[in-house]
């Protein structure tokens, strides 16, 4: 996926900062202990993308790779042995299982690519979302009308979700290569595995994602037919959006703008039906992708640090059904809020209600929460908005809440915490303001 140069510059700065913190001096040395890619969504792995030219490590992924991480941790679905590319749609459907599932994810990613291509080509003008004036009866000249702004937002949402689901090949390959490098270890984890990350005093619990056998919820979306559906859809999206793939070329066809009057009502309706379907498809595959997220709990002395990636309820279900995990989660000291604070990523009854260290009052043992989010980027209703307002309110009320959203410009976009291994107490480290000057860090876009 093409990213803006501002974004790439920013990721490079982040990577350089990591290098410095790992001991790199004058462009030499330094080692990273572990890299964790929770799942394959672009917003989680774009930082690992490379420039392709090995000799010029000027992309963030090149920098990270040069730090020779000892451990490269990913969910089981990313295991290159599952090799989705080798399977044709029909084969994948027949084989099913983990390989079929990997093929399904790949099919979804190419479907996303096709959808983005279509959404970009058509744009808000020709991809009218369902509008308010649509109840008009047959024969009415009214088309599904709506405000221009909403129209743009609707198609923007399709693009946003679509783009996030397109495979970032260079990042994926970089992660695989780092795991295969000499002295490194690639870990492809699923729920219930023990992950030894070689950190003294730190236990790493893997609560998700469940394997297909472990989770009926994930199975639900994995029927043999679905694999083929997604793979064919992926092939469809990329085939017919290219000019060469148009069926019946040169057959008395005109552009949509030149449709005769009697066909305009239907044209507008087909456009809006299409827009709605596209959004439905990207939402579905987005959710599936999120459910491959690693859910990790790091236990450091008495401290429990919870990192659930973008896991949605279906992923959580497996972990929350296990009483041992529920006890573990209840003692969470720091919660990296799931999925940028969206609706279905922080299960209330199973998770939030049981956090024992929630407290309305400030105190040494009060739970911490951090979220990486940006309001106004995603969702148009209270139900779909990210971050969810009610969730943010609850976090502010019950935890020491830190969000990337209220950083001041002079600050770097991260937080440092100290953990006392004996007491498990978490404290925030003084912000390293001296390392930056005001305005030197650009916000990513």
């Amino acid at each position: 996926m093409p990213r803006s140069s501002a974004f790439l510059d920013y990721m490079k700065k982040v990577a350089d900062d990591i290098a410095t913190r790992c001991g790199r001096k004058n462009g030499k040395g330094g080692q990273l202990h572990a890299v964790i890619a929770t799942h394959r969504h672009a917003d989680h792995i774009n930082g690992f993308a490379t420039k392709g030219k090995r000799e010029a490590p000027d992309a963030s992924g090149d920098v990270i790779r040069s730090l020779e991480p000892r451990f490269v941790v990913q969910p089981w679905t990313e295991d290159p042995d599952l090799d989705p590319k080798a399977l044709a749609p029909a084969e994948a459907a027949k084989i099913g299982g983990a390989r079929g599932f990997a093929a399904l994810l790949a099919g979804m990613q190419s479907a996303a690519a096709g959808i983005v291509e279509e959404a970009v080509r058509l744009g808000a003008k020709r991809l009218t979302p369902p509008g308010a004036g649509e109840e008009s009866a047959s024969g009415s000249a009214q088309s599904p009308g709506m405000g221009k702004a909403r129209q743009v937002a609707f198609v923007g949402q399709i693009r946003f979700l679509g783009e996030d689901n397109i495979a970032n090949r260079s990042a994926v390959e970089n992660l695989i290569a780092m795991g295969k490098a000499k002295g490194a270890k690639a870990l492809y984890l699923h729920a219930d595995t023990t992950a030894n990350l070689g950190l003294p005093g730190v236990r790493t619990h893997v609560l998700g994602p469940p394997t297909l056998k472990q989770s009926e919820a994930i199975r639900k979306m994995r029927s043999a037919d679905n694999v083929e559906f997604w793979m064919l859809l992926g092939a469809t999206g990329t085939k017919f959006t290219a000019a060469a793939g148009v069926p019946f070329p040169g057959r008395d066809c005109v552009d949509g703008a030149r449709v005769p009057d009697h066909a305009r009502w239907l044209r507008d309706h087909v456009r809006s039906a299409r827009a709605e379907t596209l959004l439905g498809i990207v939402r579905t595959l987005d959710k599936q992708m999120n459910n491959t997220s690693l859910i990790l709990v790091f236990e450091v002395g008495g401290a429990r640090l919870l990192f659930p990636g973008d896991a949605q309820i279906e992923n959580w279900q497996y972990a929350l059904a296990n009483p041992e995990y529920r006890r573990l989660l209840a003692d969470t000291t720091l919660y990296k809020v799931g999925h940028h604070g969206s609706r279905n990523a922080t299960p209330k009854a199973g998770l939030w209600d049981h956090f024992a260290k929630r407290s309305a009052k400030d105190g040494a043992d009060r739970m911490w929460s951090v979220v990486s989010t940006m309001a106004g980027k995603h969702g148009t209703t209270e139900a779909t908005r990210v971050p969810r307002k009610t969730l943010v309110e609850a976090l502010e009320h019950d935890t020491n809440f830190r969000t990337t959203q209220n950083f001041e410009r002079a600050e770097p976009d991260w937080r440092d915490f100290d953990i006392d291994p004996t007491t498990g107490r978490v404290t925030e480290v003084e912000k390293p303001k001296h390392r930056r000057t005001a305005g030197s860090v650009m916000k990513p876009r």
């Binding site: 029909a90 459907a93 027949k94 096709g114 279509e118 058509l122 020709r126 369902p130 649509e134 109840e135 009866a137 047959s138 024969g139 639900k220 979306m221 043999a224 037919d225 679905n226 083929e228 559906f229 064919l232 859809l233 469809t236 085939k239 017919f240 959006t241 148009v246 069926p247 019946f248 008395d252 066809c253 005109v254 552009d255 949509g256 449709v259 009697h262 066909a263 239907l266 309706h269 087909v270 456009r271 039906a273 299409r274 709605e276 379907t277 439905g280 579905t284 959710k287 599936q288 309820i313 279905n344 922080t346 209330k348 009854a349 998770l351 209703t381 139900a383 969810r388 009610t390 969730l391």
Partner: protein, 608 residues
């Protein structure tokens, strides 16, 4: 098609279509056939009085200009099928012809005009609406939209699949006849839309002799292909097992190029072995699409049973030279196609005798038995009613009406009052029918406190397909709606589910079909009451599936992190399925048989 004297029928026109889809072939040749459609003066498109084909493609934002209408009666007669599938103008014709023939079948079966649900006269059809493995009917878009996609080998055009077109058209027609069948109710009602659409689609396909020929060949030979099948077949070889095997093989062949994807409607239904456990015990069959397949399976078995019955009857009259009983192959095929047509008529006609709300499979069976007995009293030829009865029973479906009466609905009470109503008005005026209901509300067991509305009144003339016997009836339907708080439900004998707050508002739907004879006397009153045990069951199901959470979110405000359903979408589109009421992202109900089986359940599509 002209008759042997070269005279064209003034009312009917026969046009070439792909018999099933491009993957059903005889040898290497795609099987084509002809369907009968009403003759009409077309505009280019084709654009007729009930169907307007518009070849707009939203994925490419492209509109294809149609060719001018020629004076050829069947514009694609004797065209090489390979050329047909490469010709977008033929795609448009194929859609037009099959939508029209499906509509004509409904009108023939019901003996009257059948309206679309959206009020307009012409449904819009887009044969290449988008690049997507998808095809659906949409009430709000007043259209049926067909996609095309990359198949295993080549591009698959859904607009070339007879069963897909028929299936979607049936959704549209059923929606026009019984709007309430899309409401959340029982798993049966949700399944009915799908199952019935598959039944109509498959029987329409079986009514094509070229397709029946494939069934006979595939069942008979058990091999892939015989170039020159024998002209006569021994009756002893035409067993139910063999015929059914032919049906299954056809299912495998339908959409061969993307095997495992296409043809699932026929194949997966055919593979459900007769047993009551699917319907009554297996939770997998609670899901509406799978449940619909039970209906299809029962009808497929009745079809094969009746076909065999007919062939044995014919075989009894013949004797071949070597002493065995044999039948002309063509006659076997002809009988199969004719039976498919008869069964299709019976299946469609039943709709007029089916309740307007909360349909159960047993209700449909009783409606089938009632309607068929009314119009086709002599059933010796196919023994169809007994076979339907038995086939449904083998899947655990019993008629809702008493079996003492053959499973048909009981007649309406004799004591009704007709004093204030006029016959002529009763046959077309909803106000007059309402007057009749009002006068007889006690005898008919209507809920007196409910809002009541007569939805339609239609006079019809039905014809016995075997002997031309005609039957004049007037069918009407009404709904009753009552909105009660949970603590008021006991007034209508409904139990609120445990834990439902007493101030929860619940809307109950009742209603019935009314069938009057030609003298304006009520013959049948088939419906569901606003109250009673069936409503308690339904309410419990809706409650446990979270159907009421949305209301709760609106009033009290649910916490942020629950999995409550998101707000209802505009225009009140609802899912056809239940127990899965994730509202906005509910089941893709408007999608055709094999396609929708592929779709992950969370992709929202336009409602039927």
């Amino acid at each position: 098609m002209a008759d042997s004297l070269g005279v064209l029928s003034p009312r009917t026109r026969w046009v070439t279509v792909i018999a099933q889809d491009p993957s059903v072939r005889r040898g290497k040749r795609i099987v084509t056939g002809e369907v009968a459609i009403p003759r009409e003066d077309l505009r280019e498109g084709p654009w007729g009085h009930r169907v307007q084909v518009v070849d707009y493609d939203a994925s490419l934002d492209r509109y294809r200009k149609p060719k001018p209408i020629t004076d050829r009666d069947d514009p694609f007669k004797d065209t090489d099928p390979d050329r047909l599938i490469a010709d977008p103008e033929f795609h448009a014709w194929n859609c037009y012809a099959i939508v029209m023939s499906t509509l004509a079948r409904f009108e023939f079966a019901l003996g009257r005009r059948v309206a679309w649900s959206f009020g307009g006269h012409q449904i819009k059809v887009a044969p290449h609406a988008f690049a997507d493995a998808n095809a659906f009917y949409s009430r709000q878009d007043e259209s049926i939209l067909f996609g095309y996609f990359q198949g295993r080998k080549e591009t698959v055009f859904t607009c070339l699949s007879h069963d897909v077109i028929s299936h979607e058209t049936t959704h549209a027609l059923l929606d026009g006849l019984r709007k309430r069948y899309m409401d959340p109710s029982s798993p049966d009602q949700a399944a009915f839309h799908e199952g019935f659409a598959d039944v109509v689609a498959l029987l329409s396909v079986f009514a094509m002799p070229g397709v029946v020929e494939r069934i006979v060949d595939l069942g008979e030979t058990g091999k892939k292909e015989t170039t020159d099948p024998p002209r006569r077949i021994a009756v002893s070889r035409l067993t139910e097992n063999r015929l059914f095997r032919g049906v299954l093989r056809l299912g495998e062949q339908m959409g061969e190029e993307i095997q495992g994807v296409r043809g699932a409607a026929l194949r997966s239904s055919g593979e459900i072995k007769p047993s009551p456990q699917w319907y009554h015990e297996d939770p997998k069959f609670e899901e509406s699409h799978r449940r619909g397949e039970i209906l299809v399976a029962a009808i497929l078995h009745a079809f094969v049973g009746a076909w065999r019955h007919r062939l044995v009857g014919m075989g009894a009259e013949t004797e071949s030279l070597d002493g065995g009983k044999t039948l002309d192959r063509e006659r076997v095929v002809e009988e199969g196609a004719a039976l498919a047509g008869t069964l299709l008529t019976t299946a469609i006609r039943a709709l007029d005798y089916a309740p307007t709300v909360d349909l159960k499979f047993g209700d449909y069976l009783s409606a089938v038995l009632t309607g068929d007995r009314e119009v086709r009293p002599d059933d010796k030829k196919y023994d169809l009613r007994r076979r339907l009865h038995e086939a449904f029973a083998s899947y655990g479906i019993r008629p809702s009406a008493s079996t003492a009466d053959g499973g048909a609905w009981p007649h309406a009470p004799q004591s009704l009052r007709y004093g204030g109503v006029h016959l002529a008005s009763l046959q077309r005026d909803p106000d007059e029918v309402f007057r009749f209901l009002w006068d007889n509300r006690k005898d008919l067991g209507l809920d007196e406190g409910a809002y009541t509305e007569v939805l339609s009144v239609r006079p019809c003339t039905r014809v016995d397909p075997d002997d031309g016997f005609t039957l004049h009836e007037t069918v009407a339907q009404y709904v009753q709606i009552r909105r009660l708080r949970a603590d008021e439900l006991r007034h209508v004998d409904v139990r609120p589910p445990d834990g439902m707050p007493t101030d929860t508002e619940v809307t109950l739907y009742g209603g019935a079909a009314l069938v009057f004879d030609e003298f304006g006397h009520l013959k049948y009153h088939v419906g569901k009451s606003v109250g009673g045990d069936h409503q308690s069951e339904q309410l419990l199901r809706r409650w446990t599936s979270g159907d009421f959470e949305r209301t709760a979110a609106g009033s009290g405000g649910l916490p942020h992190y629950t999995c409550a359903a998101p707000p209802a979408r505009p225009r009140g589109r609802r899912s056809g399925s239940h127990g899965d009421e994730d509202s906005a992202e509910a089941q893709p109900a408007g999608i055709s048989g094999w396609l929708r089986r592929l779709l992950p359940s969370r992709i929202p599509l336009r409602r039927r």
